[in-house]
Symmetry: C2
Subunit: 218 residues, 2 copies
């Protein structure tokens, strides 16, 4: 069980394994061969063995993987049993969706607070948390020391808010804004969800697929 040297590319694939294994557990599947797992995930058995055999969870040859054990180990490597405190900046639809998400999935984080600049939202309850006005951010962070922040706010506000949060000791960002945090804060963990980029990629795929269909018809 050597967990020290899992490569970055394997780490990138672990969440998908984790999702699939969770699905197997829901179906009461206790063991699975690399071939069967490969089949379900659209991968090759040898890729799966390469990815997963560098840490524990493998049964003896021919017995397949112990699903629960492998699930737990991947969860441990990803740190999903952590209890990092998270605040959400921006209580619009996206902020609310993320709040639901953090509260239901409990993957390493717990929701400590939600902030917005709109006075009218202050006090509204989202997942049991009152929306707080952004003017109280300094005081809140000094008192409760959240580990990370989720940025669900527009580009124009993101740079200043990020700077404020870094100054207040926030140690990571789940970033839904267009602002490229890593350029200014290369040492702080940032995970981006650029919906805009995803939508443009999608547009390209749909366009190319239509073009292909038209060519095939001619």
């Amino acid at each position: 069980m050597s967990k020290g040297n899992v490569s970055a590319s394997v780490i990138k694939r672990l969440p998908r394994y984790y999702r699939f294994l969770g699905g197997l557990i829901d179906q009461n599947i206790v063991r699975i061969s690399s071939g069967e797992l490969a089949n379900r995930m659209g991968l090759t058995a040898s890729q799966i063995r390469q990815d997963l055999n560098c840490f524990g969870g493998f049964g003896q040859q021919g017995y397949g993987y112990n699903v629960h054990q492998l699930y737990d180990e991947i969860g441990e490597i990803l740190g999903l049993n952590s209890h990092f405190g998270a605040i959400i900046i921006g209580a619009g639809n996206l902020g609310r969706a993320v709040a639901n998400y953090l509260s239901s999935e409990r993957r390493g984080f717990h929701l400590m607070g939600i902030f917005d600049k709109k006075e009218a939202l202050a006090g509204q309850l989202i997942k049991g948390q009152p929306v707080r006005h952004i003017s109280g951010l300094d005081e809140f962070c000094r008192a409760y020391k959240p580990d990370v922040a989720v940025l669900c706010l527009p580009y124009a506000a993101a740079a200043d808010t990020a700077e404020q949060l870094v100054r207040l000791g926030v140690k990571g960002f789940w970033n839904f804004s267009h602002y490229d945090l890593s350029l200014k804060y290369p040492d702080i963990p940032v995970e981006n969800v650029h919906l805009s980029d995803s939508l443009m990629q999608f547009c390209y795929k749909v366009k190319e697929s239509k073009k292909q269909q038209n060519e095939n018809q001619n």
Copy 2:
């Protein structure tokens, strides 16, 4: 201007260029050198020249890129001037956030309808569109022929809904559910936004960063 053979890896980077160039236009910047653009984007000038010189938009050596021209060409390659009709399945917070998004960004898509299985939501207006009950999906698709669907619904419902939509002629999915569409529909364009995977990646980064800090302190 050869746009036929832009590689898949360049295509993946185009949305980020597009975002940055849009920011330059907002700042009234007309020309930019590869060095300056590289600096702003945290890339090397040679990478930018490699990425962008395979299609148009380059000025003469030493004059830099024409920002507007490059922006328009990237938009054209990505198909952002298309008018693909999109429907959203799921009118929860995420579905609402996506509706805002599609309506404000207008990147190749226009919103035609929003569906949910909750009777209580039917008729509510989101961005001028009434939420429709999912029971009317067949009829709507036959009448209005949406090109693509955005899946903002739970895993359990995604497989059946996707099958129904494919049968109704939907030609692409922007998929926010955990359901891995491409396994079943390898020929249909799918762009996934797996928030769960992103959150797990983020958890890993935060965990590793904390570990590093602790080690540095000892």
